[in-house]
């Protein structure tokens, strides 16, 4: 028993997921649950890991695993995507279902939302049908308590026949009782018979007809009652998995096929003529069972428990205030980012360039050759210093702020607000959620597109994600805005203006997203908007301290680390290009002058365009490359403030048209290499990856040429 890598189950679950046991005795536990019930928080609490958490359904789209242990057992916990049921509809739900059904976990913990327990029981009941080794973890007990919802856990446990424990995953202590129950479940045979859902008479009769044979044929590998029901249902994707798990011979068996046909006749005779009717009756039985189980076990002492949420929803999603509040919040986040980042950015830059001077002295002291000093200090170190001082402060402020909004539950409201415009473009509002993720990192945004069910709409979201500037591009935009449009004098007013302009750029990005989505829907990806449901979770008070710590350590430092890894070699290459001459002109100048005529057409110059090309590994290094290239040609050697940077740019012929064009091209150009690789992985096609690179580039070139031509005519 247990998991072996050779077993078809595990490998088929999610490409890349191989259960890593520390020892063969480790028990594998799946953490299942409806979307957004705090599974990842439970997971983090148990394993001490830091899976990203957020208050919106669909945050976890892949399986994650971690270890934890008690006195009696060591466990490998697997955090699987949230799902309402095990009758999979979307890619990520299929991942969840396959793991529970065919991943052979030793136990399943179904995490439930205490404030919405009845609906959560649907999944619990379906899980119990497959495996009796289930622990129901009623999470968010603190929220239920605040809302005066009383839950009788013992009564529920008696009725369900499996352990039911209440937890508040944010408080680690409450998880101990969960582990105790898990030990119990894993230690011996089930004590009680778990609750069996009773279906309509016709279904029960046909199951009774089929089950003995199924039991004999599948040899105890799967629960025979569950398998019988699923065989009657003939769900295509499930049948595929059953074939992979039990071998194709299982379903090709003639006696079994005959028995299935016979069982179906029983259904037909009693008026259940197709799979849809069967599914309806199955689900109805589940929902009704959940209702019965909850009767008397859950009491709402305050019918108006969600009044505060409704009031907030009125402000955040109403016709009058929905959009203005959304834009105001965006501007507020930018304003805080820009204002807050200004001072530390300056401080960091001073500090880092002070170190550069000391490094230069050191190199002079040891009589290092000039080229070595050039490569290491003026090349590698200086680009690194730029990336760190320009990027770190805005990110360290933006990420936590954004995570606060995410934790509070605002993101699904954005999707709700924007569904109508997206529907007009034959797409869906969940695309807005992917865009929000794209603010952090487009690669993350593209993985997040898995929450969209319809493959067509998912592809639309993937292809257009790059129109939202990621964190690598924000500093570029902020720096240019500050230098050319707001003034570098600082002050609350100028940072407010920067924030408003930046918000304008984002709104432009959203507008372009909508237009491109619409054009794609009418050409390459023809189709109608599919139906959609979106859950709007209760608002939660974010854990501010934790959010700040986690978003700095998990996201900011991670992204910064990546940028540094790219920036260091890029600094080297750039320095070499700027300092190796062919025919008296540096390689960089050769390249720049080659691109120059075309770049001028777009309102840029050759250096800027080459910076974007060289910034392909990471957008963060675009501005440092421009600076380095200009400095190699110019006379300024010290550059430690935006004022000097502005002077450098002006010396090299920048006008406000250049600045706007650079920002436009930053917003619309090819995605970075990481993003493109992610697109390849998600779409499985080089064709779509190429299209994903071509669309924003074409848009960028067109928009820049259009803008430059028009302004030159009028200026």
């Amino acid at each position: 028993m247990g998991l072996t890598n050779s077993s078809v189950g595990i490998k088929a679950v999610d490409s890349g997921l191989v259960i890593q046991k520390q020892s063969p005795d480790d028990r594998v536990v799946a953490l299942a649950g409806n979307p957004n019930v705090g599974k990842s928080t439970v997971f983090n609490g148990l394993t001490g890991m830091n899976q990203h958490t957020g208050n919106w359904p669909g945050k976890t789209v892949t399986n994650a695993q971690g270890c934890c242990s008690t006195k009696s057992h060591a466990y490998v916990m697997v955090d699987i995507p949230g799902t309402y049921s095990l009758m999979a509809h979307s890619a990520e739900e299929e991942v969840a279902r396959n793991f529970i059904c065919f991943g052979d976990p030793d136990a399943v913990v179904v995490v439930c939302d205490a404030t919405c327990l009845e609906r959560n029981l649907n999944l619990v009941l379906q899980t119990i049908e497959i495996s009796p080794r289930v622990v129901v973890c009623v999470n968010l007990m603190d929220e239920a308590k605040r809302k005066n919802i009383k839950i009788n856990l013992e009564l529920l446990s008696t009725r369900l026949g499996v352990p039911v424990v209440g937890t508040t995953a944010r408080k680690k202590k409450s998880l101990r009782i969960l582990m105790d129950s898990l030990d119990q479940v894993c230690s011996g045979p089930a004590q009680r018979a778990p609750f069996a859902v009773r279906y309509a008479d016709a279904i029960e009769a046909s199951i009774a007809q089929l089950e003995p044979l199924v039991k004999e044929k599948c040899g105890g590998k799967l629960n025979s009652r569950w398998l019988s029901l699923k065989l009657l249902d003939q769900d295509e994707s499930l049948i595929r998995e059953i074939n992979a798990y039990l071998g194709e011979r299982f379903l090709q068996d003639n006696t079994l096929q005959n028995a299935i046909a016979q069982a179906k006749t029983i259904l037909m005779d009693r008026g259940i003529e197709n799979e849809d009717q069967l599914k309806d009756l199955t689900v109805s039985a589940l929902v009704q069972s959940a209702e019965t189980i909850c009767q008397g076990a859950i009491t709402y002492e305050d019918r108006q428990y969600a009044a505060a949420d409704r009031k907030l929803d009125k402000i955040l999603t109403s016709k009058l205030t929905g959009y203005p509040v959304m834009i105001a919040l965006l501007a507020l986040v930018f304003w805080l980012t820009i204002t807050g980042a200004n001072y530390p950015s300056q401080l960091l830059s001073n500090g880092l360039f002070w170190i550069q001077d000391r490094l230069t002295e050191f190199f002079a002291y040891i009589h290092a050759p000039a080229w070595l000093h050039g490569v290491l200090v003026l090349g590698v170190y200086r680009v690194l210093a730029w990336v760190v001082s320009v990027m770190l402060p805005p990110m360290a402020i933006f990420f936590p702020l954004f995570t606060l909004l995410e934790d509070a539950g605002y993101l699904p409201r954005i999707a709700y607000n924007l569904d109508k415009p997206f529907k007009r473009c034959c797409a869906c509002g969940k695309q807005a959620l992917c865009m929000c993720m794209g603010f952090g990192c487009n690669a993350a945004g593209i993985i997040g597109c898995r929450i969209i069910d319809s493959p067509r709409e998912r592809l639309l979201a993937i292809l257009t994600n790059n129109f939202v500037p990621c964190n690598g591009r924000f500093p570029t935009l902020i720096a240019i805005l500050t230098m050319f449009f707001v003034g570098t004098s600082g002050g609350a007013f100028s940072s407010l203006l920067s924030a408003l302009l930046l918000t304008g750029i984002i709104v432009l990005g959203v507008a372009i997203t909508l237009v491109v989505t619409k054009v794609l829907s009418k050409t390459l990806l023809k189709g109608m908007p599919s139906s959609f449901t979106l859950e709007l979770p209760p608002y939660r008070k974010p854990q501010i301290g934790k959010v700040i710590v986690r978003s700095i350590f998990d996201r900011t430092l991670f992204v910064l680390g990546r940028a540094i890894c790219v920036a260091a070699p890029a600094g080297l290459v750039i320095w070499l290009m700027a300092n190796i001459s062919v025919g008296g002109i540096s390689v960089l100048n050769h390249c720049a002058s080659f691109l120059d005529p075309f770049a001028r057409l777009m309102g840029l110059d050759g250096v800027i365009l080459i910076a974007f090309v060289l910034g392909f590994p990471a957008n963060e290094i675009v501005i440092p490359i421009i600076i380095m290239a200009y400095m190699a040609q110019g006379s300024i050697l010290e550059l430690d403030s935006l004022v000097e940077m502005r002077n450098l740019f002006l010396q090299n012929g920048w006008t406000w048209i250049t600045a706007v064009s650079t920002m436009l091209f930053s917003l619309n150009h090819w995605p970075c290499s990481t993003t493109l690789l992610t697109i390849k992985k998600e779409t499985g096609s080089w064709k779509w990856t190429a299209i994903a690179a071509a669309i924003p580039t074409a848009v960028g070139v067109a928009v820049c040429i259009l803008f430059t031509t028009i302004t030159r005519v009028f200026a």
Binding site: D280, K319, K420, T533
Partner: protein, 78 residues
């Protein structure tokens, strides 16, 4: 209200009970999954700024559904 009303016909604040589900395919399964079966009580909570989709309280959870999908959810007075 009689049997011919659909979910679009209740305005924010109003309750109704589902009498039949006419949706098909994956939408039908999705709605069933969230517990929207016959005789389920539904309350309309509000509409998004564009007027569509609308938010409904279904078995303790707030779910946004588009108007064309609401057309397939028949209701009667609670």
């Amino acid at each position: 209200m009689n049997e011919h009303f659909c979910l679009n016909d209740i305005t924010p604040g109003q309750h109704a009970v589902v009498s039949a589900l006419q949706s098909t395919g994956s939408m039908r399964r999705r709605l069933l999954d969230i517990g929207l079966i016959e005789n389920t009580d539904v309350e309309c909570l509000g509409r998004s700024p564009g007027g569509d989709p609308s938010a409904f309280l279904i078995r303790g959870a707030v779910i946004a559904i588009r108007s064309e999908d609401c057309e397939n959810i028949l209701i009667h007075a609670s």
